[in-house]
Structure formats: C-alpha cells, structure tokens
Subunit: 81 residues, 2 copies
Amino acid sequence: MQHAFAVVLKDLRVSLGISQEELGFKANYHRTYISQLERGLKIPTLTTVFELAHVLKITPAEFIERVQQAFEKALSEEWTR
Amino acid sequence: MQHAFAVVLKDLRVSLGISQEELGFKANYHRTYISQLERGLKIPTLTTVFELAHVLKITPAEFIERVQQAFEKALSEEWTR
DNA sequence: GTGTAGACTTGGGTCGACA
DNA sequence: CTGTCGACCCAAGTCTACA
C-alpha cells in the first residue's frame, strides 16, 4: 500500500516533468521527504496528500483512486502467483 | 480541512447506524481516537483512511471526494461572508 | 455511548551533509 | 538530481479513567 502510493506519486511527478526538489518546494515539503515517500519509506497524512495533489494538478480523489487501483493491481498479482 | 474530514466521517458512521466504539473495533483503532477524528482534533494517515473506508463500506476515492466537497463548501462559505 | 484528560510510544516530516 | 544517514521535533495513535 505504501508501495502503491509511492509508485503513483513518482508517476505523477515524472509525467509533469518536475524534479523531487521542485515538487517538495512547491508543496512546502522537504526534498528528502519526497524521496522517502517515493521509496515507500513513509506514508503521508491526509493533509499532505491534499497538498501534493494540488501541486500535481490533480484532485485528491483522483489521486487516491489511482493509488487504489495500483494497490488492487498489486494484490491481484499476488493472488495469481 | 481537518474539520471537513471530521464531518464526513461522522456522517458516514451515523448513516451506517454504528457507534464510535463499533467503528473503532472493526477498523482496529481505539475508541477515543475515533472520537478525536470526529472532532477534528487529529488528522489521519493515508493507511488509516483506507481502513476506515473499508469498514464504512465506501471506496477510499469516494471517501476523499466527499471530504473534498465538504472542504470546498466550507471554503466557499468563507468567501461569501 | 461519547468527550476529555494525561501520559505514553511510534512514525510523519525537517534538516544538513555526503556520496 | 536523487539516495541515504543520523539527529531532531511534533503529531498520529494507544490506553486508563472519570464524568
């Protein structure tokens, strides 16, 4: 689940063509924290998700939906193994 | 924003007709913590949102969407004052 | 059944430095 | 530009108890 969030976050950031530094700066989070999020080392707070979504130009709900899908996909791949 | 989450959480719980105790039990969180969430004293982690959504029989994305709407509504009411 | 208080542990989030 | 380390602070989440 932390991993699902991590992947989606990185995908969104890369597809915007911005760096971790830039994302961190715009969302008011430390550069190293973004790094930790993208590696699934930390899991954000709801408020953090809202801030990140804002910078990533996506609604929080859409953001979560993608996490959900990535999560379920990971689960189904577990099952079929 | 914490307030928006609080309201939505309480609404969902009440509409299911279950107590804070029961919600806490089913989602594996302490009773008093649910109380704090519903009063906007604490803001949950993403994983917590997922667990709560599960017990509340709603998808995390829908859950967040409702929070979003409650949040924007609160903002617009600020504006028009 | 819920609010609140206080004390406690874990993990979110910061920050500087170096590869 | 990113990963990682280590130290730090504060908020998430627990738990007991009493109104």
